[in-house]
């Protein structure tokens, strides 16, 4: 008999749970607001990336709301934190879709978490735009997943070509982040292309996100006498790596990718990053009006300069809002169709066209660190 009671208790609990859900579902979106979901790593080890992206997204949405919203409706952004864990990313995307009833999703920086979330967006047929996941697999999940940044197979070879053709380098060392798929992807494609062009990778060393001592790896690299070191990593580590490299007397040129772009790079790296080159979405001195406006508005709102992730977040949100404006009706399917048609969008990171594979077609700016500014060097296409 006692078992029966247990089952009854569980059923009662189930009923309570059901009642709670029903109440939540009753919380349907108000008629005059459009709900957009965002998921990112707002806390945890990669919180700085999530928070940076969030700033760009918020700037875009606030600007739009101040200008009257879309079709007379205000936009409501619902941001959920995934603590940098893939399984949390899956859960929060489900929450955004099934509980908050968002009609589009923005996120994530890391490809691992975008890949955990993308199948869910695809399954529920909700358009998802990732601002800065560079792994090609992300948009291959399905026709509802878009991105507004380069992919690794583009950016890696671009840097390899630049190193080989423009800088005339022959011997390059690689220092990559073992914990980051972004870093691994970029490093693989760079190495492949560089070897193809006849260059030599003299040393390949690894570190892990969060490390603060790189002298062991750098001493190893020093012994192979490279002309340059390719560091596909984020600005959080690059500044430190550069400083320690210079302390060890390494004079090699430092090369990197879009993860470098942040005012923090100069702040932490100081003189050590001077003269380095990296591929970026834009150059801050770019005459492009959208870029200049973005930088100005960002500084006015947050009292600091934007980094590359903020710019990508801003563009992802802007492209989404733009598609919503063009869409005949505000349904996920209509927004998806308009997203796919995005052409020559004038974003903070340059002209963006969404191609047939739902990736962004845009050229890479090669910039050189010069004092506290990024000097535009050249523009490289695919």
């Amino acid at each position: 008999m006692r078992q029966l009671r247990h089952v009854l208790v569980i059923f009662a609990a189930a009923l309570v749970a059901q009642a709670c859900t029903k109440k939540n579902e009753g919380n349907a979106p108000a008629v005059d607001e459009i709900r957009i979901g965002q998921f990112g790593s707002m806390t945890g080890g990669e919180a700085t990336f999530g928070q940076s992206t969030d700033k760009g997204v918020r700037l875009a949405i606030d600007t739009k709301n101040a200008a009257g919203g879309i079709k007379g409706k205000k936009i409501k952004l619902i941001t959920e934190d995934n603590q940098g864990k893939p399984e949390e990313a899956a859960a929060v995307v489900k929450k955004l879709i099934s509980q908050d009833k968002v009609i589009a999703i923005l996120g994530e920086v890391a490809s691992t978490r975008s890949l955990a979330a993308a199948p869910i967006a695809q399954q529920f047929k909700i358009p998802m735009i990732t601002p800065s996941s560079t792994n090609p697999k992300v948009t291959q999940v399905g026709d509802y997943v878009f991105r507004v940044c380069f992919i690794d197979p583009f950016q890696g070879p671009v840097m390899a070509r630049f190193a080989h053709d423009n800088l005339k380098l022959k011997k390059v060392a690689v220092l990559k982040d073992l914990k980051s798929d972004y870093s691994l992807g970029l490093s693989d494609f760079f190495q492949k292309k560089f070897k193809e062009l006849g260059g030599e990778i003299v040393s390949e060393q690894t570190f892990q996100t969060g490390d603060s001592d790189f002298k062991a790896q750098l001493t190893r690299i020093r012994s192979t006498n490279p002309e340059a070191i390719f560091i596909p990593a984020y600005y959080t580590e690059v500044g430190l790596i550069a400083r320690q490299a210079r302390e060890l007397g390494l004079k090699a040129i430092l090369l990197g990718g879009d993860g470098w772009d942040s005012p923090k790079l100069f702040e932490i790296g100081q003189k050590a990053v001077e003269g380095s080159y990296f591929s970026n979405h834009y150059a801050s001195e770019s005459p492009n009006k959208a870029t200049q406006d973005f930088i100005k508005n960002f500084k006015a709102k947050f009292n600091e300069g934007p980094d590359g992730l903020s710019a990508a977040g801003y563009d992802a949100a802007m492209i989404l809002l733009n598609a919503m404006e063009r869409a005949p009706e505000l349904t996920p399917a209509a927004i998806r169709d308009e997203l796919a048609k995005t052409k020559d969008f004038d974003g903070a990171t340059g002209k963006i066209t969404i191609n047939g594979e739902r990736n962004a077609d845009k050229d890479a700016f090669i910039v050189k660190v010069d004092g506290k500014t990024l000097k535009f060097i050249t523009l490289l296409g695919p």
Binding site: T43, G45, A47, T48, G50, Q51, S52, L178, Q205, T206, F207, Q208, G210, D211, S212, D213, K215, A216, Q217, T219, R220, R222, S223, T236, G239, L240, R243, E247, L248, G249, K264, E267, I268
Partner: protein, 300 residues
């Protein structure tokens, strides 16, 4: 040969950082038999208080030893008061409950400080104020010995010697050892156990403060999660040397640093962290109480 020498220097410096933090772990463990997981966060708070303090007092405008000591004092005061607060409000209520509870609370405090740090300071990395300029003291070919490296190593050793003197020779130190031996007997001998534990936390946290300024200057980047990795490794170093044993912490730290460096230098950088733990497991299996720890014989 030059490379090898450079690796030795790098390894010792890396290890000196671990050693400095490990001393704090070992102090608290020696007295309370409790892993103070929050120690690495005290270290983080120390770095941030030096950061905000030197901004407030404009210390970076006059880099030099004066500013350095001012920043050091700021960090020490902040860390000691934080350590005291943690002891008073989180650990003391649990003094008589099972050890696991104290451990969970320590983890709770550590998480609390990490996440509050991310809310209050922001998660983005910040530049530690350069209150002192680093330069190469000695150069031989490619091999370099820098000011901060020498400072950190010598501070770790001096701190270890001073603490050893403090614990072995002074009245308070004797009381500490008594408390470590048995709370009850210490109380019966007229020792105020709570005061002694507070002193332990003040000293241990002050060490974290010293470490935060020195390592902050050396690595120049601080963020709310800066303590986790170095804290874990420093703790492993303390266990390696025999936790509760001060010279053990320093030797353990240096050993950790050297072995990590050598793994990268002569094997592969990918297995750096795994080997740090592998070393620990190996030593604990061969000598369960660590290199210098005393094994306790359990009596029935």
């Amino acid at each position: 040969m030059e490379e090898f020498l450079q690796h030795i220097i790098n390894g010792l410096n890396l290890g000196a950082g671990y050693a400095l933090i490990a001393l704090g772990y070992t102090m608290v463990y020696g007295i309370l038999q409790m892993i103070n997981f929050a120690h690495s966060e005290v270290y983080m708070i120390g770095a941030f208080s030096a950061f905000y303090g030197s901004r407030f007092f404009n210390l970076t405008e006059h880099p030099g030893w004066g500013s350095f000591f001012a920043a050091l004092a700021l960090a020490i005061v902040a860390c000691s008061s934080l350590g005291l607060l943690i002891e008073r409000f989180a650990y003391r209520p649990l003094r008589n409950s099972p050890k696991t509870n104290a451990l969970i609370t320590a983890i709770g405090v550590s998480l609390f400080l990490q996440f509050s740090g991310q809310v209050v300071f922001g998660a983005d990395p910040k530049l530690f104020p350069s209150v002192l300029e680093d330069y190469a003291l000695w150069t031989y070919g490619n091999v370099q010995l820098r000011l901060f490296d020498v400072t950190i190593l010598s501070v770790a050793c001096v701190a270890m010697l001073l603490l050893n003197f403090f614990i072995q020779r002074t009245r308070v130190g004797t009381a500490m050892r008594a408390v470590s031996f048995s709370f009850r007997s210490a109380t019966l001998m007229g020792i105020n156990v709570n005061t002694i534990i507070m002193v332990t936390f003040i000293v241990g946290s002050a060490l974290a403060g010293v470490g935060s300024v020195l390592l902050g200057l050396k690595y120049s980047k601080i963020d709310p999660l800066m303590g986790t990795l170095i804290g874990l490794k420093a703790f492993v170093a303390a266990v390696l040397g025999g936790i509760g044993n001060l010279p053990g912490a320093v030797v353990g730290g240096l050993l950790m640093g050297l072995s990590e460096e050598m793994v990268v230098a002569y094997l592969s950088s990918t297995y750096r962290d795994a080997l740090a733990f592998g070393l620990l497991i190996f030593i604990l299996l061969v000598k369960p109480s660590g290199l210098f720890g005393q094994s306790k014989v359990e009596k029935v």
